[in-house]
Symmetry: C2
Subunit: 668 residues, 2 copies
């Protein structure tokens, strides 16, 4: 059974990697840009949709505000990118968690850690959900199966991560380049067509949204403001992922900080240009996008054609400009899917690293700290997979609903980390002597201050306009994570203070005497082995103990024991409730009461079976008994294994040691 599981594991995961493999060549600008920008760029696949579907609540007229809101969210995104370009100067090795922890203390750190973990879960969920929608735009048969497609995406990403796949550099760079060429080619073509007047309307130009009753009676100034702010907060999803290059400076080519800064600048400008282009063209081609296609009507009223399918904005634009179903349009959409997969993959890399870092600081279970066979943090990947699947299922892979919860966590960690940077520069200022140096620090502080104010404002807008629509859930989730993480840290702290050696401790102290107790459940070979092992350890005293579960069998046991004529006295313990551990513990306690500084070793014969199913056939009393005995002070349990024959032939195969060396003994 174990060997079957092991083979399955090898098949899925592959052969383990040596620790040496971790040291890799650093990434140059050309490769770092696409690898670390995938997360930020992928927002173009859903941020425009979010803006338009919110505006659609106000009817066709409100839709024309799209480009203006696009400008606003691009401005926010660029300001935050600028702010991070300053942050990396001070913290090339760490991301928002490290910055917040260092400058604002552990509580800020753990809050940002929680928010970032949540963000990364959302990154995966949103990416695969958007991926499912784009795939459905190419293959309409997938329409309606978005949840299944998205779930499959999560599982494939997880498997790729555990196998350590997707660590290539050239392929992502080339694919991203192809996408950028196609995307900007499409935008340029669209602009030319627009100038020539040959720009075709989008497929959705023939329909219009039924305005929401709340916004139906013309747009009053207040309703208008609410609508615009909501559209803005949805659109600010554009800024998600811009922090990724700042957390990966360590992997870039020297001079690292300069490489990172130029990567970030290029990333921001490309995202800005493409978003502006898409928003402008969506307006010019009269793209309509709504949350629920059932709320559409034909232009001027009347029902929508039965075969109308709502595609993502970018897919609609590609079809309108490059020709519906044309090769170029299909290629563009598939490259967007690739970009979304890259974004999800990058989250599958970041999340376990962050979790390992938090585990290293004692905020998460230690299991998240260690690398698996293929040098990935397997446990972290599993955790992320389960969380992302839960989100995909809970929200039925609906990008629009997911984004509403996504943005709040992102801007929360932006805000706290920028505040941390402001604090950092203020401290730095106090230590900087010269006027020129001080001026540089002041400028940096100003940039981060602007970043802080912008991020805080956006967070506030999102919180106010989206509170009822899910922002509270995200806040609650972050609070719950902070609570759990602080409890875990408390536990580890308490354990460490208990286990650490005190300077006065006598490391050489020994128990005064050792009493051996052999538990006899049958007079068979395993029991004799236990007695032999106990005798071999030459204890101060040795007794055999029989718990009287059943009069008849106990009598048979004693007779058989006497026949062996062993130099070991036997004690029978009464057990009126047919239970093993209580009479035994009672007996051990009575013994320890007379000499509390002694050690009692209980020898328990234990079967080791060949196949898992055989385990069901042997009483698991011994395991429960061992658990109980472990709770008794001064008692040690020695398991004397007896391998049942099925096993005996099988010696567990050990894999070859690749370095040829198996052990070194410096002290021997």
């Amino acid at each position: 059974m174990a060997r079957v599981l092991d083979s399955v594991r090898r098949l899925l995961v592959g052969r383990p990697y040596d620790t040496e493999r971790l040291n890799r060549r650093p990434l140059g600008r050309f490769t770092a840009l696409p690898v670390f920008s995938a997360n930020a760029w992928s927002s173009i696949a859903y941020a425009p949709d979010e803006i338009l579907l919110t505006l659609a609540l106000g009817g066709t007229a409100a839709l024309s505000l799209g480009p203006e809101i696009g400008v606003a969210v691009v401005a926010v995104m660029l300001l935050i990118v600028m702010s991070y370009r300053v942050s990396v100067r001070a913290y090339p090795e760490g991301g928002d968690y490290a910055i917040s922890r260092a400058n604002l203390g552990p509580w800020a750190g753990v809050t940002v850690g929680a928010a970032m973990m949540l963000d990364l879960v959302f990154t995966v969920a949103v990416s695969v959900a958007a991926m499912a929608r784009y795939l459905a735009a190419v293959w309409p048969t997938l329409e309606g199966a978005e949840t299944a497609v998205a779930s499959a995406g999560v599982v494939l990403l997880a498997m790729a991560s555990i196998r350590g796949a997707g660590r290539g550099r050239r392929a992502p760079a080339l694919l991203a380049l192809a996408l950028l060429i196609l995307l900007f080619g499409m935008i340029a073509t669209g602009l030319v067509q627009d100038a020539l007047g040959t720009l075709a309307p989008a497929a959705s130009a023939a329909v219009e949204p039924v305005p929401d009753p709340a916004f139906a009676e013309g747009l009053g100034p207040l309703a208008m403001a609410v609508l615009v702010l909501r559209a803005f907060s949805s659109g600010s999803a554009l800024a998600t992922g811009v922090e990724v290059p700042a957390s990966n400076v360590a992997t870039m080519a020297r001079p690292r900080i300069r490489t990172a800064r130029s990567v970030m600048l290029a990333m921001g400008l490309i995202a800005a240009a493409s978003t502006l282009g898409v928003m402008y063209l969506a307006d010019r081609t009269s793209v309509v996008f709504v949350l629920d296609p059932a709320s559409l009507q034909a232009e001027g009223g009347g029902p929508v054609p039965a075969d109308y399918v709502q595609n993502p904005v970018l897919a609609q634009l590609a079809n309108a400009i490059l020709g519906t179903g044309s090769l170029l349009s299909g290629a563009l959409i598939l490259l967007v899917v690739v970009l979304l997969v890259m974004a999800g993959h990058s989250a599958f890399k970041s999340f376990p690293e962050l979790a390992s870092r938090l585990a290293g600081d004692g905020y998460l279970p230690r299991q998240l700290l260690t690398r698996g066979d293929r040098l990935g943090y397997t446990n972290g990947v599993v955790l992320l997979t389960l969380a992302a699947l839960a989100l995909v299922w809970a929200f039925q892979a609906q990008t629009a609903l997911l984004v509403q919860l996504y943005v709040i966590g992102v801007f929360l960690s932006f805000t706290v980390s920028q505040l941390g940077m402001v604090r950092h520069w203020s401290r730095k200022l106090a230590q900087t002597p010269g006027t020129r140096g001080r001026q540089a620090v002041r400028t940096r502080r100003l940039v981060n201050l602007v970043g802080f104010v912008v991020a805080a404002l956006v967070a506030l807008v999102v919180l106010v306009t989206r509170f009822g629509q899910g922002a509270w859930v995200a806040l609650l989730a972050i609070a719950a994570m902070v609570f759990v993480m602080s409890r875990i840290r408390n536990h580890y702290d308490a354990v460490a203070s208990e286990l650490d050696l005190t300077p006065t401790e006598d490391a050489r102290a020994l128990p005064s005497r050792v009493h051996a107790v052999v538990l006899v459940m049958s007079v068979q070979r395993p029991t004799l082995r236990a007695v032999a092992y106990a005798r071999a350890s030459r204890p101060s005293s040795l007794e055999a103990v029989v718990v009287d579960l059943d009069k008849e069998s106990t009598q048979g046991l004693l007779t058989a024991w006497d026949r062996l004529d062993l130099p070991v006295p036997v004690t029978v313990l009464a057990s009126p409730f047919r239970e093993m551990s209580e009479p035994l513990i009672r007996h051990l306690r009575a013994q320890r009461r007379t000499s509390p500084r002694d050690l009692v070793v209980v020898y328990i014969p234990e079967y080791v079976v060949a196949h898992g199913w055989q385990r069901l056939l042997h009483n698991r009393t011994t395991q429960r008994l061992k658990d109980r005995l472990h709770r008794e002070p001064g008692v040690m349990v020695a398991s004397v294994p007896w391998r049942l024959s099925g096993v005996r032939g099988v010696t567990h195969r050990l894999p070859e040691s690749p370095r040829g060396q198996t052990e070194t003994g410096p002290d021997q």
Copy 2:
């Protein structure tokens, strides 16, 4: 956590019972009759329905055959009862399993054991399913929730069994008496009304079944024969449960066999009279009962009224004779529910006893052998509960479908056990000298032979007419159980022959030397305790072992270790794949290769946490490591526990020993 679970358990299960409680006063006739007849009598709640719904396939005309088929199944039932009355003369202590095993060998025994276990599962499932239907007849709001009601019934029966409840004698007897009075009162009233011509038609008299296409074109002689045989095989469900008193002779008052025989006679006659009465009155009141109420039509064709509800036959009769919704009719129906609950309860008593017996013979896991806190066989109850719930869910609590699978197993065990009895009497005959004695044995053999022939014929009829409708599933299930049980027996046999001492074995042989290895994962107090314990056992050699999972922390470990200045050398094992057990096992094997007769004891420090959730926070590497080490020959694992502080204050409370004595030491 453990204490919370313990409290919950005490609340649900109650305080444990002393083994002494098992010895109870024997049951007299008046109390034994209702307790052991519940199973047989409860058939009246569904057997008539089964006959009628099968006949309904042939249309209204075929329904008039009901009374005749009733007579046939009653005759079969009485013959089998007579046969069992003879069986108990020879086997007062045991049921069909013991009879078959003793006379026809282990394979027959295990087959009957499997068939009986399956029967008992079906007894529970059919009883609770019928119960749900009767409850729905009183409270129509339960209509449609039969599966939920039946599942709740299973769970409540299981809880009652585990608590050891329902062991009262007077209450069941009085309730059964009340039922019999009401039932025969109803039958008598119905017969009088029939004679006077005032018998009201049943609620279902206004509808008629749409004949099945297979039987639609008039009933040819072949179709007729098939229909009658099918109805007969469904109706033979009446005979289920008649073997129960024969398996419980040991609990009856002396003279036991005579008590049992008269209980069985009374049981059979009461079941016969009530069945005949019900079948006759159902015919006279034109009761219609079909499998699927959608296949009904109003008399003469046309749709059935929308509010028509199909109640069980007995409920329809009670309403027709005692007045729809009258107090008496409601009381009768509720007492039928009580009877069904008693039948289920009796199966919950029989199944674990049978399972314990089979476990005692090595056919089932040993866990089924032992009694729980309240002297019931808890594991058997759990097994039965799960199996019965599975049936209830799989068949959506539809009695009619369940009964089709039920009957085959019942008659299979009847047949084999009666054949065993025939064999028994033949052997007995060979040993009996006198003519009168021989004549008595011959008569008994004849009765059992008749029983065998009848049971075999019915089994054949059921198998042929119901093969496609589920009998094959039941047969397959029995075959699978026989296979599994024989595998289990083989395993236990193999283990016993391996573990049993050979006469030449030297019980006093000891390992030549003991090497102690302390696994060091941190230089903290638990590790020092492990070293101290290892030193206290004065091994031939002692070394500390560090597995090098991570260069940096290993270096720290070694420095700390050197500072302690312990007289224990340390060995560092390389682990390129960041894994603990393989380097360690490699090291131990190398050591054992030089001296294979030595014993290696590996000391592993182990944390014991206060709360279950804390367990998640500590690497479970040690458990996996211990499992691996258990598979290595000549290696013993000594777990050195360290109780983390949450536990330290809590010493596990032991319950009071009721007999005041805690231990006896005959050999000390």
